[in-house]
Subunit: 309 residues, 2 copies
Amino acid sequence: MSSVIQSGRISRVVVSGGTHGNEMSGVFLAQHWLQDSSELHRKSFTAEAFLANPLAVQRCVRYIDTDLNRCFSSELLSALSSESDPYEVKLAREIYQKYGPKQCTNFLIDLHNTTSNMGSTIILFKGDNLSLHLANYLQTNCVDPSFPFHIIQYDLPKGETIYLQQSGKHSISLELGPQPQGVVRDDVLTRMRELVNCSLDFLDLFNQGCEFHSFETDIYQTISKIDYPRGEDGNIQAFIHKNLQDKDYLPLKPGDPIFQTLKGEDVLYTGKETMYPLFINEAAYYEKKVAFVLSEKIHCSVPALKLQN
Amino acid sequence: MSSVIQSGRISRVVVSGGTHGNEMSGVFLAQHWLQDSSELHRKSFTAEAFLANPLAVQRCVRYIDTDLNRCFSSELLSALSSESDPYEVKLAREIYQKYGPKQCTNFLIDLHNTTSNMGSTIILFKGDNLSLHLANYLQTNCVDPSFPFHIIQYDLPKGETIYLQQSGKHSISLELGPQPQGVVRDDVLTRMRELVNCSLDFLDLFNQGCEFHSFETDIYQTISKIDYPRGEDGNIQAFIHKNLQDKDYLPLKPGDPIFQTLKGEDVLYTGKETMYPLFINEAAYYEKKVAFVLSEKIHCSVPALKLQN
């Protein structure tokens, strides 16, 4: 690998809010920027915002028929369309047509909230070094101790897509929390707004030829998902243990309690390795059978970055 | 007024959870007590639990057709029933038949959560001195600094009913928060469980002839509701100001900021009197056009209480 990564100019930047209709920071910000996008202007580009799932926003629900942010597989995007397709599958095709690779979206920022204590989380995909540099720029230039900064890396098999953010050549999702569904909190919205603005600043500096030094950082790579203990009827039998609640990104060791039943019994973590739990007690994941996500903490070295000549 | 209130023996106590299907502490507790009610047994009575809105619980939503906790008016309860009635109107009639005055429910405890920073809130109705004594007993005997204790009094015109808890002769609602909708937090659930148990202890002591001294306390009486600033399209134009967020029960003075627009403009409180805001930024109240509720703080003296001979 070269000691300097060269990456192409960023000409089209898109910011999506309301991919989940009850995650309110992104909903409010996208609606605001649709009325007045001046805040998204930079010297070298003009970013545009869109509201990804307007009907879900209107009803203040995560989705109408199915989770939009799981509808971006090549199978669904390329399948023959039918009137009976779920609303979000139709929506995903529209979004992909409008903002996907054919439209040369170089950078996509997708805005999310979580009920978990995830602070300022950036989700990016393995191999996207431009996004890693952007994350490092945020980590250095956009600090807020109330919302500690973390980077999650998703490692999908090459070419596999699921998520809206993958419509962009490069992309991040911002996951800010904790915030209840259906609520807009000033502190969370303000933090998200700062992170978007600082991201746009980074992309503008990059376009202007600024070189970014190599760096080292910790990232969290998702490994597996842990469901709640359930009875034969499928109902949840225990809830997140008080020792685990709000402890996203902190080490979970073998034998640590992870759930407690209403009879007061602890359920222990039986894994053999220390892992780092994410999205602990996220409201939207109860139905997905996910109590929390396990991740590994990886230390990585990222080469310097500059604009391709 | 006599210096000692005499009140009849409490023979039937009912605890309802899941009146709103996504307020999870009550949902989990009611489901647990339906399987094993031994925790609700006392010397002088056996309390029973029920799940008020099972379909809403199953779908993890507040309600299916309309808010169950606004369906207990005498008009709705006594109207001719029709197949096309909203699901919750039918449900309210069933609940009223099963647990209402004809079934001599002397005490009803209705379990709720809120996304607002309402700590341990007890809601009771004006004139219900037994419930005021119960609240005072909780305030003295069931302390948890993480969830400060407050009493809200609703003052409806005589005979007017709206809420599920009014199916009982005496009643309280427990409103615990903050907790996101669709999430069960150990700390909130544990606190609610303690409050229910301590309430049952009080009722048992009362039945056994224990006399409760007169006392003085502060209660919050709801006065009016404040909506978000809205545009001509009905969309919200500003959100709860950071100075007001999480400040439930703290004084709001004329001129204090209450909202902020996305352009950074403050909206000030224009009332003439200091008031006490409640349910600030409750997720379920966006659609009800309530950003927060204004209340007056009232100091009141409550006479002693004993069992009627």
